[in-house]
């Protein structure tokens, strides 16, 4: 009986961990889609980094 309960507990813990992981991944995907949409539809969407180097782009983005 005790062994059965322990097995069930492990099963649920494992399953919960997996569900939380999947939830995290889905949230991350939603955040990523939102961020990319904002960038692509933002004020600089036509030519996002005209004249700027890669490093400058990164710095500008961090400042924003």
């Amino acid at each position: 009986m005790a062994t059965g309960l322990k097995k069930e507990h492990e099963l649920h813990t494992r399953r919960r961990g997996r569900n939380v992981g999947v939830l995290g991944l889905l949230v991350a995907l939603a955040v990523l889609l939102f961020a990319v949409t904002m960038v692509k539809m933002g004020p600089q969407s036509g030519n996002p980094t005209a004249g700027a180097s890669w490093g400058e782009t990164l710095l500008n983005w961090a400042r924003e």
């Binding site: 990523l32 980094t49 180097s53 990164l58 983005w61």
Partner: protein, 318 residues
């Protein structure tokens, strides 16, 4: 009750946890893919928004993971019989083969579709071809058929910097082809070093790796031969649109060190290797991994140097 019933229906197979699915995607291979793809993105002589760059990297990483899952699905039978791979999720019984296949196919489609939206069609097409090449051409066809499996199949691992480059520029250029060639020529020495000290495993499961089919001496000569070919190719990006002085110095030092260790492998006999449990080959295998991180890291350092101080008259020949 339902849980217990479904569990007992699956016998003693433990239900897969999140870490099993992570392992299914070959995280160590993925780290190399992420790093080289990032190098392609950073070194490309064009600009991309950091969010788009991050999204592209994630797509490339997921695509690589998907092809890893498909590889494990197809190779589950031999993985279960090799010491190096017996702990993989399908071989160990943690993940059902069909589940791995579904995950691999699903993530392949998702990563390619997302990359086409986040970056461009060329990058997405290259990613799709890479997944196809690794899962079908290498895993299903070449791996169990020819000792040249990892020479041709190595192309799959060589695409990530080219995909990263294409995600930024929308082009395939001479420089991105050079970066492809560097990894393509690096793969045989890297993988054959592993095959030398895992020869028995491959022989047991009938995978015709070069040391199994042609012997250790031929493999050692081939390792050095491909390293010699790699020498000029690894230096060439220094004088490309992506290169610079940091890359030149690092590539010269690292490639000479790589070649030196390849020569040590070449100069050994099977008896000497067996006597010290393939210590030199194992060291060369580790060196080969750090080598790739070093030179692609140097490529990114040059890109950051250029963005910090602007053009500085470095000769660009490619």
């Amino acid at each position: 009750m339902t849980d217990i019933s479904s569990h007992s229906l699956q016998g003693d197979r433990p239900e897969a946890g999140l870490s099993d699915y992570v392992q299914l995607m070959k995280p160590r291979v993925m780290s190399l893919v992420i790093f080289t793809a990032l190098a392609g993105i950073v070194a490309a002589p064009s600009d991309v928004h950091p969010v788009v760059a991050l999204a592209s990297i994630i797509c490339i990483a997921v695509g690589a993971g998907a092809s890893g899952a498909l590889n494990m699905w197809w190779d589950a039978d031999i993985d279960a019989r090799m010491a190096r791979t017996v702990g993989r999720p399908i071989a160990a019984g943690a993940v059902e083969p069909g589940e791995a296949m579904a995950l691999g196919l699903g993530l392949s489609l998702l990563s390619v579709a997302m990359l086409s939206i986040f970056a461009n069609l060329l990058a997405a097409a290259l990613l799709a071809f890479t997944i196809f090449f690794y899962a079908v051409v290498y895993t299903m066809w070449l791996k169990r058929w020819t000792p040249q499996n990892i020479v041709i199949g190595g192309a799959a691992g060589a695409f990530p910097p080219m995909i990263g480059w294409a995600a930024v520029t929308g082009e395939i250029t001479m420089t991105s082809c050079l970066l492809f060639l560097v990894i393509f020529l690096w793969t045989p020495p890297h993988f054959w070093a592993l095959a030398l000290f895992r020869k028995a495993d491959y022989a047991d499961v009938g995978v015709p790796m070069l040391p199994v089919v042609a012997g250790e001496d031929v493999t050692r000569r081939q390792i050095f031969g491909y390293t010699a070919l790699l020498l000029p190719v690894a230096i060439a990006p220094a004088f490309s649109a992506a290169g610079g002085p940091i890359y030149l110095l690092v590539a010269l030092w690292a490639t000479m060190r790589f070649a030196h260790e390849a020569w040590q492998v070449r100069a050994r006999t099977s008896e000497a290797a067996a006597a010290d449990d393939y210590a030199v080959e194992k060291r060369f295998f580790v060196t080969s991994i750090s080598y790739l991180f070093l030179i692609f890291g140097a490529l990114m350092a040059d890109a950051l140097l250029r963005s910090a101080i602007g053009p500085f008259g470095w000769p660009v020949l490619f």
